[in-house]
């Protein structure tokens, strides 16, 4: 088994996939804690569908580097969703449902109408569930992913205490002069970036799992914001790494394997949490 793995790791694309997978897992877990606690996880879900629609449009327009189109569109939608979510008059969740289902339907329609690919169903399936795409990353995509992940981690550390304050009690934060709106915006933009990055790894339908599961697992056991954040990151990285290895060895789809490992980890953490509370 080790020799098989060693053989695989001689190929640069496998090493790239591994590196990208771990970085994405790290970023999504860091933001996942805030997302879950702020009840923003549905925004992540909505945005992943938007990203799917954007990819469809990009492929129809035949844009060379899809990420350069998908990223700004998703960031824009993140800002829009946050705005509507905060206005009391328009129900935020309805707006998100509209946007996400709409993007999904229109995206598929466009792909159906204009795609020149002979394997449309396969294309759609891989965009939704992730597939071998992570193994075909170009060097530019890997570089972009490394730079963006570094930016996400950097921003998170820089604003860690502010993010905690805004997450724990937004009203108090506002009352004491924190620009809560600006931090919500930063959070939304970071989420959008993570979702676009994670599309490559697990596909758009499974992104939410990557964001939500590590945070929920860590919350079963740990009881301070810092420890939950750190352990969510650790759990997420371990799950992503083992998921990628398993999928290489057994030929299962990368995305769903990673999610399956995350589900296992969640079960384990719930069990440990219960035992510890006894």
């Amino acid at each position: 088994m080790i020799t098989t793995l060693a053989a695989y790791f001689q190929y640069p694309f496998v090493r790239y996939a591994f590196l990208v997978g771990i970085l994405i897992a790290l970023c999504s877990a860091l933001m996942g804690v805030t997302l879950v606690l702020k009840r923003f996880s549905f925004i992540g879900d909505g945005l992943s569908h938007v990203a799917f629609g954007a990819i469809a449009v990009a492929s129809v327009l035949d844009i060379g580097n899809e990420m350069l189109f998908v990223l700004p569109v998703t960031v824009l939608c993140a800002i829009l969703l946050l705005r509507t979510g905060q206005s009391a008059k328009i129900k935020g969740d309805a707006a998100i449902a509209m946007l996400s289902v709409g993007a999904l339907a229109v995206g598929y329609l466009l792909m159906h109408l204009f795609s020149t690919s002979s394997n449309l169903a396969g294309d759609v399936c891989s965009t939704l569930f992730g597939s071998t795409s992570i193994l075909t990353l170009t060097k530019t995509e890997v570089t972009l992913c490394v730079v963006l992940s570094a930016a996400v981690v950097g921003l998170f550390i820089l604003f860690y205490h502010k993010i905690f304050a805004v997450t724990f009690d937004e009203t108090f934060a506002r009352a004491t002069g924190i620009q809560a709106g600006a931090y919500n915006l930063i959070i939304a933009v970071i989420i959008a970036v993570i979702i676009v990055l994670a599309m490559n790894l697990v596909g758009s339908l499974l992104i939410s799992a990557l964001v939500v599961f590590p945070a929920l697992s860590a919350m079963r056991i740990f009881r301070s914001f810092l420890s939950v954040t750190v352990w969510a990151a650790v759990i997420s990285v371990v799950c992503a790494a083992s998921g990628i290895l398993i999928s290489i060895l057994s030929g299962t789809p990368v995305g769903s394997t990673i999610v399956a490992v995350n589900i296992l980890a969640f079960g384990l953490c719930s069990l440990l949490g219960r035992l510890a509370r006894r």
Partner: protein
Amino acid sequence: MLQLICHNLTLGYDGQSVVRGLSFTVSEGDYLCIVGENGSGKSTLMKAVLGLLPPMEGTIAYGEGLSRGQIGYLPQQTLVQKDFPASVWEIVLSGFEGRRKFRPFHTAEEKAAARKNLERLGLAGFEKRCYRDLSGGQQQRVLLARALCATEKILVLDEPVTGLDPVVTAELYELISDLNQKYGVTIVMISHDLEAAVGRASHILHIGEDIFFGSRQAFLQSPCSRRLFREGGRA
């Protein structure tokens, strides 16, 4: 020295007014109690004072050395989720965020001040405890310590004893009086409990049908207070 001057305020939501024609002032070291029926607009007034809700009419001015972001605040109900993972220490330190601007780490002075505030509220040794495992009274004291980290000048408390048992309620009132008398922190407290409020406050603001603002003595002699006490002591 005047810290807060509210003049002819009309407050409300979406063009519907809740409170009309409200004027009052708060000076340094005052203990102002705001009383009034449920739904009379006490929490609304608080939001306006904190700058979270723009007044429909009238003005709110802050005195010298006080600006909008320098008011410590204890919300009516902190809508913290039951399972939010946060230690006492993390919550108390978060009181500094408003004034810290862009420095990513806490200074030694801030940590010392946080520790002092925990001590003042009888929470020394609670730093590592998880917020959600504390009793209601302890949780309120943690939030008070956080508010003190945000400012030493003026604390705004919205029904801080809701849901606490009588013993813990008395303790919390005692602590708040202490902050006011020993440390000179101005207190603006919304209260449901007329007797407790009148017992400790230096000034009373009653909002509702009849608006009253004045010192405690003036309030006790006013027709407003006689009517309220006749109705059973609950404002």
